[in-house]
Symmetry: C2
């Protein structure tokens, strides 16, 4: 069995995604709006959500082209949430991915509007550009993306996160925050690729469990990195959780306890892929990447 | 031919829409988020967009139930745009529909998030709750709604509007602002009902022309009301355009010129309905309502 080269795979996926993002969102009138949208959308990043979507689509027998509009839409929703979370009325952050945040460059009004436009365009993109999927599958993906981006998903998580600042919270509340704030969109990233490719209910269930494990592991890793990584590595303010006395996995479970929990979750995620054989190697490697990433 | 009773029709539609909005968006956890969403969504208003959607669906042979999720989604997108437009970073308004604006009650962070959640939920609602339409028709409606809510639609209009404040602008720019800021969503309101009901391309084209006329007429009426109506009638700050030296139809065409233009547009809109006979009476009456409304 040849070794799966995750680095090469990530590089290749990333460059396909970057090209598609640029193509799907060309500069146009009104100029400043599209500049602001493109500034944050094309600012780099891991492109983890699109890559998960493309990978699960391929594993389920679909092509990358089939899932590309959805993959890019997921990145647009993610970018919208970052732009709005960084606003002065929310987390009030000046840097993101090593660059000034959207509102620092374009102003608060434009940052709010650029986020709104990215969110709405994500749905337009999937609806208009998906080719070769059954329409009922496209409707299902649109519905799940809407749920992941709304009060039942990332907005709900952000609200509870904001309300919890400076307060002692339970592990249950912490898990609510993360399964919603980051987990919901990661889950739909994995599931949507499989749905578009026509995967059956059993496959979707397994991938749902896989994605819940990696979603939580992703967040624990984020918390650990906030303690150990430097601002240069993160591209955003480091040590912020501690300074804000924010509840995190390390603060609730201890550093080693949190690290062990992430490793357990990786194992659980990979166990869900057992029946898929060699075709699951990219998703297996992605679970490992999530737990070991340095930024 | 019996006289069509528009007032009774509007009252009946409105009460159906209000009940559906309340049902589709029940109070839930996280409490403050859903309170904020419901505060603005259930704050009254003309419910013009949902009524246009239900009416064009019925005229095209569909039931009100078929279009109700889409009708409510249109109101959610409209409400999102009002909440975000009222923010201090944008128009900085304290009152809307005679009540304090969302951010004055719930804070800026919650107002931004309530808007985001309403926008995303609109797509979820259509995708999950539409029953009895062909899936490709649902995909088309979702794509058109996404476009109307994004940079090619209302956000684009709002950006150009913000950039034009205190500047002299041409009639062309003014029409860009209004065909995007209010026109795009009014257009998809009319079209989506017909699409869900299975209307053919010719019908959709006529309704597109109808909706462009009433969209512009709606905006001209808004500008005229800003001059003549009181704050009590409008439920928002009156005379604001003049104070902000904002370009409006009356400022470019004169009061009488603008009023005549609205009347011309009403006639053009009604002419598009000629072939539909008696079934077009509600849409005909709605065009009249738009040009004559007092708030």
């Amino acid at each position: 069995m040849s070794q799966f080269d995750l680095d090469a795979y990530l590089r290749q996926c990333r460059s396909q995604v970057e090209a598609a993002l640029d193509r799907y969102l060309p500069q146009q009138y009104p100029d400043k709006l599209y500049e602001a949208m493109r500034y944050s959308l094309l600012a780099g990043g891991k492109r983890l959500r699109p890559i998960l979507c493309l990978t699960s689509c391929r594993m389920s027998g679909g092509s990358a082209d089939l899932a590309m509009p959805t993959a890019c839409a997921l990145e647009m929703v993610h970018t919208m949430s970052l732009i709005h979370d960084d606003l002065p009325a929310m987390d009030d952050d000046d840097y993101r991915r090593g660059k000034l945040t959207n509102h620092k460059v374009y102003g608060e009004d434009m940052a709010i509007l650029a986020g709104d436009a990215l969110l709405a365009y994500a749905f337009q993109l999937i609806a208009e550009k998906t080719v070769g999927a059954q329409p009922e599958r496209v409707v299902e993906v649109l519905g799940r993306l809407g749920k992941a981006a709304s009060g039942a998903g990332l907005v709900g998580g952000q609200v509870v996160d904001l309300e919890s600042e400076g307060r002692t919270i339970t592990l249950e509340t912490l898990e609510y925050i993360h399964t919603h704030k980051t987990g919901a969109l990661l889950e739909v990233s994995v599931i949507s690729g499989a749905i578009l490719a026509g995967a059956d209910g059993g496959v979707v269930e397994r991938l749902t469990r896989y994605s819940r494990c990696i979603g939580l592991a992703f967040q624990i890793r984020d918390d650990l990195l906030d303690i150990t990584a430097t601002q240069a590595e993160l591209g955003k303010t480091a040590g912020k959780d501690l300074r804000d006395r924010k509840a995190t996995y390390p603060s609730l479970l201890g550093y080693d306890g949190a690290r062990d929990r992430a490793e357990q979750l990786r194992e659980q995620a990979v166990a869900e892929l057992a029946d898929f054989g060699a075709s699951a190697r990219p998703l297996t490697a992605l679970a490992e990447f999530i737990v070991q990433r340095r930024h």
